[in-house]
Amino acid sequence: MSARENILGRIRAANGKTGAASAAEREAVAARLRTHARGPLPSMDWDPLPRFKERCIVMMSTVDQVASRSDLPAAIARYLTSNRLPLGGVCWPEFADLDWGGAGLDIAARPATGRDMVGVTGSFCAIAENGTLMLLSGEDTHATTSLLPETHIAVVPASRVVRSMEDGWDLLRREREGLPRQVNFVSGPSRTADIEMTLVMGVHGPFRVHVVVVN
């Protein structure tokens, strides 16, 4: 008997079940997974976009808004300059077509390395409840871009702001076949309070997260 069989056998015995799981038992569990019903949610009687922006700030991100995609390089250049940050970094391939050079920025469309200081990503969607970015790993949505650089800039289309994590999962189920390798919910800059319970931003992940909402 393998360890697997031993463990599963002990679990069944512990639950007062004899013999193997019946078809009915399996179907009951499978049905629950298929239905994936939501549990009770807290009230969410706020408008998603204002709520999202407000909660981003509570989670210590900064927020900007632009009228259209083509305004992004200038808006991002303004942010980097006014915060005295490096004017170069990397971005996800979806932003390769933007006029970075015209805004005075040197942005390469490739995954981040340990040397890149700024990373520009999009997002699968954004979650208003807590000011969260939902990022999916993938061929053109490199995980390192939002993780290694000190500054993470996230582009969020206003139409992709949903209310809750549950809404995010439903959107993912509608638009994709299953989960990618990693789904990351990012809510602000990395932080810790491990020394004397004192909050410090910028631990292993980015020091700062700047969210730009595009109309």
């Binding site: 393998s2 360890a3 697997r4 031993n6 463990i7 599963l8 002990r10 679990i11 512990a14 639950n15 799981a21 038992e25 569990v29 499978a30 629950r32 997974l33 994936h36 019903a37 549990g39 009770p40 949610l41 807290p42 009230s43 509570v58 995954p111 340990g114 409840e129 807590n130 969260t132 790993s137 993938g138 061929e139 490199h142 995980a143 993780l147 994590m165 549950e166 999962w169 299953g178 989960l179 990618p180 390798r181 990693q182 789904v183 990351n184 919910f185 990012v186 809510s187 810790t192 309070a193 491990d194 020394i195 004397e196 319970m197 410090v200 910028g202 631990v203 292993h204 992940g205 980015p206």
Partner: protein
């Protein structure tokens, strides 16, 4: 981790007398209790979510086998290599085996309490592997050679000066005192290891059956690094972490982060399903998940079963008056506080942790804040019952309790004894009505407190006299 729960009393006394620890504990208590309370107010249906979360955890326990099989099927379909392991020792052996197979030299680790249970780091190092804890608190205690004193904030017992001294020594740099500067120094020191480690080891907060995923809840970014950068990622998890659906996890997370640190949401929630996909530009080439029993099925079969609902938030210990004053080390194993008082004897043996379920006032400050409604004081009491059944209590205590019950069941004898006791007590208390020293058996009280003396007569005798007076009419 080595088990030192038998030293509970001695260590607890030492901790009570440690001014630095007392300061750290006071600081932690103030912050953690207040921030949790504030964040809970954000949920207008907190108790409803809490009840639903307890039910989800119970469903998970009751259907653990079928759910794990559902999880495994989907995990394997996504390319995950799944291992099942029965004991803690085998966990370590399996990790080492995977490391050897992949010519691993350097390992980065994101927090795992299960890894503490099995003494993983120690075994990996003995096998010649370079293991780096990357969670700042775990990194600090790894450097100082200590064990964690809290499951969420492992270095909560250390002051900034402790950390400053430690870093100056270990990093061979100028001593810094600013907390942000110390944190950023650790970031700088650990960053190269994130980039060149061969293997990442993480725990798992939950397994999601619906998608075959593991998930971790972090704030620092080390969890994302550990599960993305190295070429091999190994996640170790207890069987009890299984949750049915993504919706269930999303619901429970609302309570987990608030109960643990008072955050509405933790910085990073990472759901991993399989290794690098063909078109991915990053991610580990191999992803292993080791599913571990290590005593859990035994607890599942016992009347301590509800303790397996635990989602490792730490709220119970943050609100426990005992933990608040002695810290985590006295409990002597991986899990301190109320949950530790139940899990430790359950996993390491009742006789090796006798003090733990007894060193509690049963105030239920813990049970009230447990997000999954574990009846902690009731479980502690049940462990006390088991100690009595197994003859593990001191004979003086057993005899004393039986004598009390014998006497109190006999009203006339009890009456006599209490009348004598009330009079002796009153005399002993003198004019001030206070006893400064109680006889052996009671000296634990009077080392720190006076004992107010009885008034000299019992209620029953006075009441009987009053009734007799009434019956015989006015004089």
């Amino acid at each position: 981790m080595q088990i030192t729960s038998r030293d509970f009393k001695r260590v607890a006394s030492r901790k009570l007398a440690d001014p630095k620890l007392q300061k750290a504990l006071g600081n932690a208590k103030g912050k953690l209790v207040v921030t949790r309370a504030r964040s809970i107010l954000e949920l207008d249906n907190y108790e409803e979510i809490r009840e639903a979360s307890a039910r989800v955890r119970d469903f998970g326990l009751q259907n653990m086998d079928v759910l794990l099989e559902e999880w495994e099927r989907r995990a394997v379909a996504a390319g995950t290599i799944v291992h099942w392991v029965e004991s803690g020792r085998e966990v370590n052996a399996k990790v080492i085996e995977i490391a050897r197979r992949h010519n691993v030299r350097k390992i980065i680790k994101s927090k795992s309490m299960l890894g503490e249970e099995t003494n993983l780091n120690h075994e990996l190092e003995a096998a010649g592997l370079d293991v780096r804890e990357t969670d700042l608190g775990e990194y600090i205690i790894q450097q100082s050679g200590e064990t964690p004193s809290h499951i969420i904030a492992p270095a909560v017992h250390k002051s900034r000066d402790d950390v400053a001294d430690l870093f100056a020594e270990k990093h061979q740099r100028r001593r810094l005192t600013d907390i942000a500067a110390l944190t950023h120094e650790a970031r700088e020191i650990l960053r190269p290891h994130f980039l060149d480690a061969d293997m990442g080891i993480s725990g798992a907060n939950f397994l999601v059956a619906e998608t075959g995923s593991t998930m971790i809840v972090t704030n620092e970014g080390n969890g994302r690094m550990t599960t993305t950068m190295p070429r091999v990622h190994v996640a170790i998890t207890g069987v009890e972490k299984i949750i049915p659906t993504l919706e269930d996890v999303s619901m429970i997370l609302r309570l987990l982060t608030r109960s643990a640190t008072g955050q509405s949401i933790s910085n990073y929630l990472s759901f991993t399903t399989g290794p690098k996909r063909p078109d991915d530009k990053d991610g580990p080439g191999e992803f292993h998940v080791i599913i571990v029993d290590a005593g859990r099925t035994k607890v599942l079969a016992s009347d301590m079963r509800e303790a397996l609902r635990c989602i490792r938030c730490g709220a119970c210990m943050n609100h426990c008056p005992v933990y608040q004053n002695i810290g985590g080390h006295a409990y002597g194993w991986v899990y301190p506080g109320p949950i530790g008082s139940i899990l430790t004897p359950s996993y390491v043996g009742l006789e090796n942790a006798i003090d733990l379920p007894n060193a509690a006032t049963l105030c239920n400050q813990c049970g009230v804040v447990c997000p999954v409604k574990i009846p902690l004081p009731d479980l502690m009491r049940k462990l006390r019952e088991k100690q009595v059944e197994r003859g593990l209590r001191p004979w003086g205590e057993r005899v004393g309790l039986r004598l009390w019950a014998w006497a109190a069941a006999r009203p006339r004898i009890y009456s006599l004894l209490t009348r004598i006791g009330a009079r002796i007590g009153r005399l002993a208390g003198g004019r001030a009505g206070l006893l400064h020293k109680l006889p052996p058996g009671g000296s634990g009280w009077t080392t720190g407190r006076d004992f107010p003396a009885p008034k000299g007569k019992t209620f029953r005798e006075l009441y009987a006299r009053e009734r007799a007076g009434k019956r015989s009419g006015p004089q």
